[in-house]
């Protein structure tokens, strides 16, 4: 028990990312509405982004932009002073991919709606089966 | 979609200066937009080396080219500057009004028997303002000040306002309209 609490606190971000991810996953599996699933999908993606960003955090470091500005190229830079920029870069990509997926998914929803006039998966399937 | 009566009503309320003729290009609006934009650019950028300035130049030109007709829907610029200056002078007064109104609202919010104090209602009145910007300023000012929110404005100056209690409702149009009318009066 005495070890458990520090573990929980030291990795709070990781627990939350798992929670969020599971919320998203649950929504994607269990929800019946297509748009709801998309919401779940986005939560799922953001959870992963949260995870990555949490990797990049460093105690006592500042944001990954040089304080020196353009001119001060040759001052010594201490890596420990700055946050790890790599996960940030990766996550920029992930966010953009997320919005791209979102756009495509919504476009598909629109097409489906115009065809079946509903967004509930079971109703759509019932319509398909009837044919 | 629309209720028939309402549709007619709404249609009659139309402002006349919907941005049209996007293709036409006027030089003076362009220039003024450009200058305003460049000012903002310098503020935002904070870098005054040639590289960034030239970037700013290009950016401002792009924005001015794209959107000068949004900032200045009509090419007639006479008196706009005066109006703008007067509008700036109006702002401090508005801030004070805002402050006063908020004190009242805080009182309402935090009062334990708030439900008894308030008496919401929707009132209608007609404003004498005729310029579009004037109407919008007035509407936004109403929204920001004592217990009132503009629900709807027509281009003729018909206001529909939601007021939180009777006192607030009674204070309209009041002093504010006069002040704004002063700002937007013809030069």
């Amino acid at each position: 028990m005495s070890e458990l609490i520090p573990t929980i606190i030291a990795k709070y971000n990781y627990w939350i990312y798992i929670t969020l991810m599971m919320i998203g996953l649950y929504a994607m599996i269990a929800k019946n509405n297509l748009v709801k699933k998309i919401v779940g999908m986005n939560i799922f993606q953001t959870a992963i982004i949260l995870y990555y960003v949490s990797i990049g955090v460093k105690k006592g470091a500042t944001i990954p932009i040089s304080t020196g500005g353009h001119g001060a190229a040759h001052e010594a830079v201490h890596a420990a002073d700055y946050l790890n920029p790599l996960p940030h870069v990766l996550m920029l990509t992930a966010i953009v991919v997320g919005v791209a997926t979102l756009g495509v998914a919504l476009a598909l929803c629109l097409r489906i709606y115009s065809r079946y006039n509903t967004l509930e998966e079971d109703e759509i399937l019932a319509q398909i089966r009837k044919k | 979609m629309l209720n028939k009566n309402e549709e007619k009503n709404l249609h009659n309320n139309q402002p006349e200066t919907a941005p049209k003729n996007q293709s036409s290009f006027y030089f003076f609006p362009f220039l003024i937009t450009f200058i305003v934009m460049f000012g903002i650019w310098m503020l935002l950028s904070g870098k005054f080396d040639p590289f960034h300035l030239s970037l700013g130049f290009i950016s401002c030109a792009i924005v001015a080219f794209l959107s000068s007709d949004l900032l200045f829907p009509s090419p007639i610029l006479k008196g706009k500057l005066t109006v703008f200056l007067r509008w700036l002078c109006y702002l401090p007064w508005l801030t004070i009004e805002l402050y006063k109104a908020n004190i009242h609202l805080v009182y309402l919010s935090l009062h334990p028997r708030m439900m008894d104090l308030i008496d919401p209602r929707i009132i209608k009145f007609k404003s004498t303002l005729d310029s579009e910007l004037g109407l919008v300023t007035f509407a936004n000012s109403i929204t920001l000040t004592p217990g009132t929110i503009t629900v709807n404005v027509s281009s003729d100056g018909d206001f529909k306002v939601h007021a939180i209690d009777k006192a607030c409702a009674d204070s309209l149009p009041g002093e504010m309209e006069i002040k704004i009318a002063k700002v937007f009066r013809k030069v």
Partner: protein, 107 residues
């Protein structure tokens, strides 16, 4: 200076608090918009003003510009907030929401 900043900041926070409480307590959608539209605007305004002032502590051109940028945000909020409030209330009217009148139950 710090005290002045603190006063501004805290009064801003105070208005924001009142706004939040107001949003919770007012009985219907229209009346809730009052605290949301006004108190939040003012609260933001004051708090930001304080922060902009604080930023001028170590005065330099950069700091001044930053403070001016914060002022820019203030102006933006000043224009955008009533517009957003209006948009929401307009939506309520179009949605056909009847305003609460005295004596009704809280909605």
């Amino acid at each position: 200076m710090d005290i002045f900043v603190c006063i501004l900041l805290f009064s801003g926070l105070f208005f924001l608090t009142a706004g939040s409480i107001g949003i919770l307590r007012f009985p219907d959608f229209y009346s809730r918009l009052h605290p949301a539209g006004k108190l939040d605007t003012l609260g933001t305004l004051l708090a930001m003003l304080g922060l902009a002032l604080f930023n001028l502590h170590h005065f330099s051109l950069g700091a001044l510009l930053t403070s001016l940028k914060i002022m820019l945000i203030i102006i933006f909020v000043f224009v955008a907030s009533p517009t957003a409030t209006h948009a929401i209330v307009d939506a309520g009217v179009r949605a056909g929401l009847a305003p609460w009148t005295k004596g009704e139950k809280r909605r």
